[in-house]
């Protein structure tokens, strides 16, 4: 189903999509999207949504199932509290992506902004995966409680840090992988950055295979690079703050 979004308010657009999903439609092509918010929200079916244009904020918020593929950049709040599904962004992504995400995948080919993957958490078979092709800014992985956050550092100028300041602040679960050096000064206390082992590389291979397929990237070359793994020392980062 093809929907021309121009002239439609996001609420009308989403209603059309939801109505069609209820009718059993599984393939959507949205054209002339320009700032339409909440695409994919409130849909619990694994439908495919192709977005031409620039989607609005909270793309895939509270989403549970749809597979959204964008044509270029996307804005803030992608995958907010997302439960399941896929978001693919060939360009760059804005701030606050994957906030409190519990499941599904977000693939960004370019860079992503500030506060990526805050408080992502995993539970039982649900494990959120966020993969950023380029770099991220400050507060990446803050309060990370579960899931995998991968920064590949592709196409970056030499010497540019791949993560911003205050990386992994309050992290108490999950794993971050950064393909390249991470200046320890950018990390908050309570986490450690170590070189990866063979197990990690296998994990990365499994996670990156669909990512590379999505963007036609050379999997072996990317997996073969230098990776640093960031993990928390404890699941209880704030034990000493209070007088009991």
């Amino acid at each position: 189903m093809r929907i021309d979004a121009s002239g439609l308010h996001y609420r009308q657009l989403n209603q059309q999509i939801k109505a069609a999903v209820a009718e059993g439609e599984t393939e959507f092509e949205l054209v002339n999207v320009c700032g339409h918010r909440y695409l994919g929200s409130g849909i619990d079916q694994p439908v495919n949504i192709r977005v031409e244009g620039i989607p609005g904020n909270d793309l895939g918020a509270f989403m549970s199932g749809p597979r959204i593929r964008c044509s270029g950049n996307a804005q803030d709040g992608i995958g907010n509290t997302m439960d399941d599904g896929l978001v693919v962004i060939p360009g760059h992504a804005g701030d606050v992506m994957g906030y409190s995400m519990r499941g599904g995948c977000i693939y960004v080919r370019g860079n992503a902004g500030y506060r990526i993957g805050i408080h992502m958490k995993s539970y039982l078979d649900k494990e959120p995966v966020v993969i950023i092709g380029g770099r991220v800014r400050d507060f990446c992985g803050e309060y990370l409680a579960g899931g995998k956050l991968i920064v590949l550092g592709l196409d970056q100028p030499a010497g540019e840090p791949l993560v911003g300041k205050y990386c992994a602040t309050g992290m108490h679960g999950g794993t971050m992988y950064v393909r390249g050096e991470v200046d320890p000064a950018l990390l908050r206390p309570g986490v450690s950055a170590t070189e990866i082992g063979d197990d990690d590389r296998q994990v990365l291979r499994d996670l990156l295979a669909p990512y590379c397929a999505e963007f036609s990237l050379p999997l072996d070359e990317i997996v073969g690079g230098l990776f640093v793994r960031i993990t928390p020392h404890t699941a209880r980062p704030y034990g000493q703050l209070y007088a009991y």
Binding site: N14, R37, Y38, K121, Q240, Y242
Partner: protein, 501 residues
């Protein structure tokens, strides 16, 4: 115990003529203040660890025990009171922030006690609530400004999704994790019995409580614990928690040791891992972000349920509350500075925020001035102690109130303010299975249902006295209030006349 400068706060008196050495007190004390001496097998007390919870006193079959507050002894000083010294000693020993539970115990003025309600005499009749129908039904949510009709005379206007309350009292947000399952279960069942709502707090909705989800307001807080499409779907309403009266601007933190298997399943985080609620929602840094989240939730629930925004009453509560209404909130819940908490840095609890009386009066007035009072309902919270407080709040302009602490007291809480220790001897604010059993949900449900019934009866009685048979006539009716012992400025903000006028 190494030498400590922190003196005991309580005295445990045991009447040895009455003590039968049955040991019930030792089994009830989770603070090791009552113990069996391993040498002679006799019961002994240790006041140093006593928190004054009164559990042993209550359970002692012979009434042999008294636990009283111990006067702090020492040279008093108007600035350096003994309480102040004690706090410094504790911090000098621990190096940590002082934590506390429940609402502030600082002696701020309780303005409810300076407001009196009206009653009919002669000029209009009072109503006998025993004989006449008294309506407490309350709807929360957005209502149309006016009703428009089509040519056939059928109304075309619609009220937004609404919550229907049989009594204007709801249970405040208390998460599973901060309180025990049995406490949550009691609240849920009592809410259903009484035709009102309970609030999940940010702890998710336990699978056994989905049965009561049509009486649940589910919270979306900064930690987003247990927030799934199913959770949002099941609820009667969704509440975005921005702030809490006991700790405005402060996040929450459920320590890993309390994250049991059940809590883990409910919050959907691994067992034993800290449950951290960041101070802000990281997707809300401004009012239009709030709007973005409100509409994200409306979109996710297909506009089928009201969205509430809960804020703490602070200096700028008026523009914040008004902004939340403009941002699409169907309900604005405000929690005053006397609001409760399971664990809060004492310094925040006792020094941040404003009393709910003023917040309510100011916000209600402003919304009316701006002509948007119908767009949202006001729910207030923060230390409601009795039905009179509630009636006064409604007269000031509230649609309904949230009660938290009084509900906990109904469940057995004795205000020891040690919730944060996780050792609540009453089984309310703990996850220790040995302690949580102490709150029998059958009894809990009954107690809470009774409390709501009793207060509803009293509200009807007061309404009747004022010559009204509907709560609609009290809501925002400040004519029914008079202030006593208040300054001109306070009266002005409350828009209440002084007694005698």
């Amino acid at each position: 115990m190494p030498l400590t400068t922190v003196h005991p706060q309580f005295i445990i008196k045991r009447d040895m003529d009455l003590c039968i050495q049955c040991g019930v007190c030792t089994r009830q004390c989770s603070y090791d203040a009552q113990k069996i001496d391993p040498e002679d097998g006799r019961v002994s007390s240790d006041p140093r660890t006593c928190v004054g919870c009164q559990r042993c006193v209550t359970l002692c079959p012979t009434g042999a025990l008294v636990v009283t507050e111990r006067e702090l002894h020492g040279r008093s000083h108007p600035n350096w009171s003994l309480q102040v010294q004690r706090a410094i000693h504790r911090q000098a020993e621990s190096g940590g922030m002082l934590l506390t539970g429940m609402g502030t115990d600082k002696n701020y003025r309780i303005y409810w006690d300076n407001l009196v309600l009206n009653a009919s005499q002669v000029t209009n009749p009072s109503i006998d609530p025993l004989r006449e129908p008294m309506e407490l039904r309350t709807f929360l949510g957005a209502k149309p400004e006016r009703v428009e009709f089509d040519d056939e005379g059928n109304p075309v206007s619609q009220a937004g999704p609404l919550l229907t309350l049989d009594t204007p009292i709801m249970f405040s947000a208390m998460s599973y994790g901060s309180i025990s399952f049995n406490a949550c279960y009691s609240l849920a069942r009592a809410a259903k019995n009484a035709g009102t709502y309970f609030n999940t707090g940010e702890g998710g909705l336990h699978r056994d409580l989905y049965e009561y989800a049509d009486h649940a307001i589910v919270q979306v807080a900064s930690g987003r614990f247990g927030v799934t499409p199913q959770y949002l779907d099941a609820a009667a309403a969704v509440e975005i928690k921005i702030g809490q009266g006991a700790k405005p601007g402060i996040g929450g933190h459920l320590p890993g040791e309390k994250v049991s298997a059940e809590i883990s399943a409910t919050r959907m985080i691994p067992e034993g891992s800290d449950a951290i609620s960041p101070a802000p929602h990281h997707d809300i840094y401004s009012i239009e972000d709030l709007k973005q989240l409100i509409y994200a939730l409306k979109e996710a629930t297909n506009y089928s349920k009201p969205v509430s925004v809960k804020i703490a009453a602070v200096n700028y509560v008026v523009p914040i509350a008004v902004g939340a209404v403009r941002a699409g909130a169907d309900i604005v819940a405000m929690d005053g500075t006397r609001g409760g908490s399971g664990a809060t840095p004492t310094v925040i609890r006792d020094n941040v925020g404003i009393p709910i009386e003023f917040a309510l009066a100011a916000v209600d007035s402003r919304l009316r001035q701006e002509g948007i009072r119908h767009q949202a309902s006001l729910v207030v919270a923060g230390g409601f102690r009795n039905s009179a407080d509630i009636a006064k709040a409604i007269a000031l302009g509230a649609d309904a109130v949230y009660i938290g602490t009084s509900a906990l007291i109904a469940l057995g809480c004795h205000m020891c303010q040690s919730c944060y220790t996780g050792k609540c001897t009453w089984g309310i604010c703990t996850q220790d299975p040995y302690l949580t059993k102490r709150l029998n949900p059958e009894i809990g449900t009954r107690s809470l249902t009774n409390l709501l019934r009793a207060w509803s009866l009293e509200i009807k009685e007061m309404l009747g006295g004022m010559g009204m048979n509907s709560i609609d006539s009290l809501r925002g009716n400040r004519e029914m209030l008079r202030g006593i012992g208040l300054t001109t400025e306070e009266l002005e903000i409350l828009e209440v006349a002084p007694v005698g006028r």
